[in-house]
């Protein structure tokens, strides 16, 4: 707790009186100052507080393992990553999967496919469902990150993490959602069940694409903070909060198709609030995350 002594002693009280995240940036800077970054601490921080946007990409990269915890090797590793990217890029160009006019997102997809060995024989091959997921996430990430190489790596690592680490958890999410919906708003659940909409909810959009394309990027970042730091349950609470926020509208809709359609295109105006509430809800139901990773 050496870094704690450097922190503002008032920070404890800020939290008590409800000012969350006053000292976050500073404490994050302290965390990032360590030569060997403590990934666990970063995870906890990210779970507990929203990340400042200026450090978000760095933290994500560290958490996703794109760059090692050592500062000294960052440049080297990033160089490697860059070279790798360009190598693959070059290879794809050579085999004419991509050219200059290919959209960035497709480039990412092809690179990813190649890297994972799933490159189709030719371009005419139809896209697999997981490719769709990748594209959606990549599109969202492209908005957040400027550098294409970083972006690629983040997307790729994020998808890999989802597929490896959270694979089992993601399958449980619909059930968990139903369970929490029962606790929070039984009536709404009954309505959804009456409409037989529970099975038709946009689970792909929510849980596989992690709301990419559903929420605007500014809100999405905060959700992804939590996912990247290891908790995919936040997805359930975002979905739950969407339900609670648009409860009246959803109750007004009677068919499963309409509900699904509405949920796939929810209004974008107050998503920040939804996410904030979802985080609160997540805290109340799952407790303050300590070292969940």
């Amino acid at each position: 707790m050496a870094d704690d002594s450097q922190r503002n002693f008032r920070s404890v009280y800020y939290e008590k009186v409800g000012f969350r995240g006053v000292e976050e940036k500073k404490s994050l800077e302290i965390l990032l100052k360590d030569d060997r970054l403590d990934i666990e601490k970063l995870c906890t921080f990210s779970q507990r507080f929203p990340l400042p946007s200026m450090y978000r990409i760095l933290v994500w990269k560290v958490l996703l393992g794109i760059i090692p915890p050592h500062h000294k090797s960052h440049a080297l590793v990033m160089n490697y990553r860059k070279e790798q990217y360009w190598d693959v890029h070059h290879a794809l160009r050579v085999i004419r999967f991509i050219n200059d006019s290919t959209p960035q997102v497709d480039v990412f997809l092809r690179i990813h496919q190649l890297e994972s060995g799933k490159l189709p024989r030719n371009l005419a091959f139809p896209l697999e469902p997981e490719d769709e997921v990748f594209l959606a996430i990549a599109k969202a990430m492209e908005e957040m990150v400027e550098d294409p190489i970083e972006c690629y790596w983040l997307v790729s690592s994020f998808v890999n993490q989802l597929n490896s680490k959270h694979k089992d958890a993601l399958q449980q999410l619909p059930k968990i959602l139903e369970q929490y919906l029962n606790i929070e708003d039984n009536r709404l659940l009954m309505h959804l069940k009456a409409c037989a909409a529970m099975s038709k909810l946009p689970y792909d959009l929510w849980f596989k694409k992690c709301f990419a394309g559903c929420l605007p990027e500014s809100s999405l970042q905060r959700v992804w903070d939590k996912i990247i730091s290891g908790s995919c349950k936040i997805l359930v609470f975002v979905a739950l909060e969407i339900f609670l926020t648009f409860k009246m509208k959803i109750i007004a809709l009677t068919t499963a198709e309409k509900i699904t359609q509405f949920l796939e295109n929810i209004p974008q105006d107050n998503t920040d609030a939804i996410v904030s509430k979802a985080v609160d809800l997540w805290r109340t139901h799952c407790g303050t995350p300590a070292h969940s990773v």
Partner: protein, 1158 residues
Amino acid sequence: MAQQGNVGELLSMLDSPSLGVLEDITAAFKDNLICDRGPMLVNNLVDYYLETNSQQALHILSTLQEPHDKHLLDKINEYMGKAATRLPILSLLGHVIRRQPSWKHKLSQAPLLLSLLKCLKTDTDVVVLTTGVLVLITMLPMIPQSGKQYLHDFFGIFGRLSAWCLQNPGHVAEIYLVHLHASVYALFHRLYGMYPCNFVSFLRSHYSMKENLETFEEVVKPMMEHVRIHPELVTGSKDHELDPRRWKRLETHDVVIECAKISLDPAEASYEDGYYSASRKPCTNLKHHQTDPSASHYIDTQSSYGTSTPYSTPRLTLSQMPGQLPQILSPQSIQLSTEPQQVTIWSPSAVCGMTTPPTSPGIVPSESSQSSSQPYSKAFGTSAGGKGTPLGTPATSPPPSTSDDFVHVSLPSAAATPPKKEDKSDSGRPLLYRQQNVTNSDKSLDTPGSKSSVTLSDLPEFLGGLSFEDSAEKDREEDAISKEISEITTDAEHMVPRGGFDSPFYRTNESLSGSQKKTQSAVSGAQGHGPTSEPLTSSLDKPGPESARETPKQTFTPIDKPCGGSGESPAGNREGTSGETSILTPSPCKVPAQRRVVFGSGQPPLYEHLFEVALPKTAYLFVGKKTEELLKKVKGTQDEDCTASTSPVEVLDRLIQQGADAHTKELNKLSLPSKSADWTHFGGSPPSDEIHTLRNQLLLLHNQLLYERFKRQQHALRNRRLLRKVIKATALEEHNAAMKDQLKLQEKEIQALKLSLQKEQARYHQFQEEHENIVAQLHSQIRQLQHDREEFYNQSQELQTKLEDCRNMITDLRLELKKANNKVCHTELLLSQVSQKLSNSESVQQQMEFLNRQLLVLGEVNELYLEQLQHKHTDTTKEVEMLHAAYRKDLEKAKLCVQQQSQRLDASQKRIAELESQLSKKDHLFVEQKKYLEDVKIKARGQLQAVESRYKAQKRITQAFELEILDLFGRLEKSSLLKKLEDEKTEAAEAAEERLDCGNEGCADAVAGYSEETIGRNGETKPPSTRGSSSSKGGSNSELSTPEKNQNQRFINRWETSMLLEPSTTVPLTVGSLPSSKSFLGMKSRELFRNKSESQCDEQGGTINSLSDTLKTELCKDPNMETKAPPSPNNSLSPKIPESSVGQLHIMDYNETHHDHS
């Protein structure tokens, strides 16, 4: 105007004889009145009434409702202005007002009132005036509060009319004046009753003037004699009696009764409540008068008038009246003993009575009682009104009464007074009387009516001999009654109006007579009228019900009875009536409830016996007087001032009576056409006038009748209310009685409680005493014990002092003991010291001896040594010196050595410390180094991961390229497929081998991470595959079919394909891993590859060594985990290397290096 026509028709039909039409028309009018709010219909009706005098129109007009009142009043007002229509319109107004319409309060604001007043002030027609005054009198109680503004008008009218009565400025017929006088009298009563203070002040101011003095003397003063002092004169003030609040709580009939209350005139007065006793006084006095022979004269005369009154039909010739009037009034003057005008007692009525033999004497008592009251009041002046005690009245009885009579009178008066006395105070006599009453009532409990009769019958006995005389006369009277009744039975017409008023009185008379008949039949010897009594009883049955109906009135207006003429009270009715009276007359009984019963039943007798007493006298005198009066009649006219003494009402009554009598007589005597001729005989006006006068008189009489009827209605109203009060009062009394019973019960309870309380108190006292005894005992015990205690205390104190003494002694002894002990110890110590010293000295002595001995021995030895010393002195010193020196040197050496050793030790210790510190530093360093190493490891791992991923990416790229290449090959081969079918198999095998090699080598290469090389190799392998069959269809196909399969799987595939291909190609297994030596190309490529790989191994061996350590394991692990295929090629390769031909050393080398690497 159709409506008007319609109205005209209706009006014409109004008096149609048919009843049905009449009802329809009346209904139609009423409907019209309801619908129409205009004045037209009302005006038409009024006109019609004035024209035809129609009763129907009158009826409709008098029942007009609210919205039409204004029109009616306006119309009346209009006609009031005209002299011609004044009279009929006044009578109409009278009719309307007597109906007491709901809008009567508006009268005060109506201009009609003003015009009426004006008319009364200015008009000179007596008939109009009389009618107007009656209307005004009727109206006054209805608008009492508004009378304020017109008060002086009223008074002015009174002044004018009273003066008129006297002066007769219009010189109208006297007979009118009688009417006028009566109405003025009524006005006087009304004004005095309603506004006493104002009125009296008016009288004072008005009659203080000289010119009015006469009027006062003649007219007003006599009137004032008929009124009591109004209580308001004492308590009220001018303003107070005009206060609307005073009038608000009084209804019309209340006002009327108020006015009647202050009247002493029996014709006007009403007796109830507080006035009851006062009103009674005249009765007692009446009796007293009746006993008086002198008084009896006029009583008789009056009785004759009284009998005539009921017969309102003017049987008497009217022309007789003017002449008779003064005579009628004369008897009153007789009463005034002080007055000089002691006129003989004659009255024209007596003549009338004579002329009309059937005049019932039955009325006489009542009439006399009424009339005699006035003479009495006159005779005694104010004593009647002022004196409260009736007992005083006999004493102040007028001089005419004789001593005999006095005794006689006093008794009945005493008997009569009880009701009054019980109100005030109990005197001896009433008690007596009451007892008698009680006994009487006991005798005849069955019928209250009989009770009355019993008392009546007893009373005469009580009165003693007096009654003897009376009874004889009573029988006479009975006779007259029976006659009267027989008349009534014949004349039903008169019966009806009369019966209502009179019946109660008849009952008393009847009961009286009946009882007398029963009880005194033996006593009365002069009873010759046996047969007449029968018709009496028979005729009584008819009016019976009426009497029963009307009896209640009797109680309130007991003096009003005179009006009656016939006795009628059957036994059956009597019960009911007496029962009613008992109910209705509880008011005088403030006496206990027990007496009430007696009283209720006893009350009627009170009157009755008065009359009974009065009756015989009057009856007796009746005959004598008649004769006397006949004589006196001739004497001529009497002064008019006599009228002052009698009530104008009575005068009027008498007039009417006379008129009636005369009329009947005349009617019998004369035929109509010759009437006028005979009228002149009476000295009246000429015949032409006569009819007019008669008509007017009729009219006036009618008015008077209506006024009296109105008064009766008011009385009826009043009666109903009083009845309600009485019922309430009885209920309250019963309640009271119940409460008293309860009170008694409670008192009993209280008594019982008191008894128990006393018992409890006694017990309590007992307990207290016991308690005190115990306490006293205990106290004595305590005292004893205390005493004991004190004794003990003293003893203990003594003992304590002793104890203390002992203690002191003990302490002293102890001290002494201590001192002794100390001494002993000290001595012991001293003793031991002494013994020690002793032993010491002994031992010292022994030592001394021993030392002395030694000294001796040593001295001897010394001497001996001295001797020896002297012998051996030189040799020993040198040796010793030498030895000393040697020892010293040795010691020094040893010291040096020790010093050296210690120095060395220090040095070595220092050295050890240094080394230890170094050791710890090194340990620390080691830890740091470890940490650093770890750090570096992690760092390197991170980098390595990146590199690895890069490497993987490269592999993927390579694969992608391979795929691409293979694809392209595939295409090429397809094109050249047909041409080279023969070479296909071998080349395919070669291609397969090559590919297998490529796989292996690729694996190895991948370890090294040289992508370029693989590319190069691929480039090399291209030609053989293109050239050589390359239709490794199986392989390529499998590859194509599983492009997504991972590398290891592909290994297997390849391995399998190679294995499959082997038998066909018969290539030895050893060669399987390497390109076959047979094929030149394969060899070439192998060599090329080997060289390159070797060189690379050489070049980068150092750097890669470390990497390979980690990578190798991972690489080995991965395949192992996923498939077991990769080890198998390795395993298969490794054993085959030694088996392979010697020419393949390079390959072995390669393999070895590879092994080394791995």
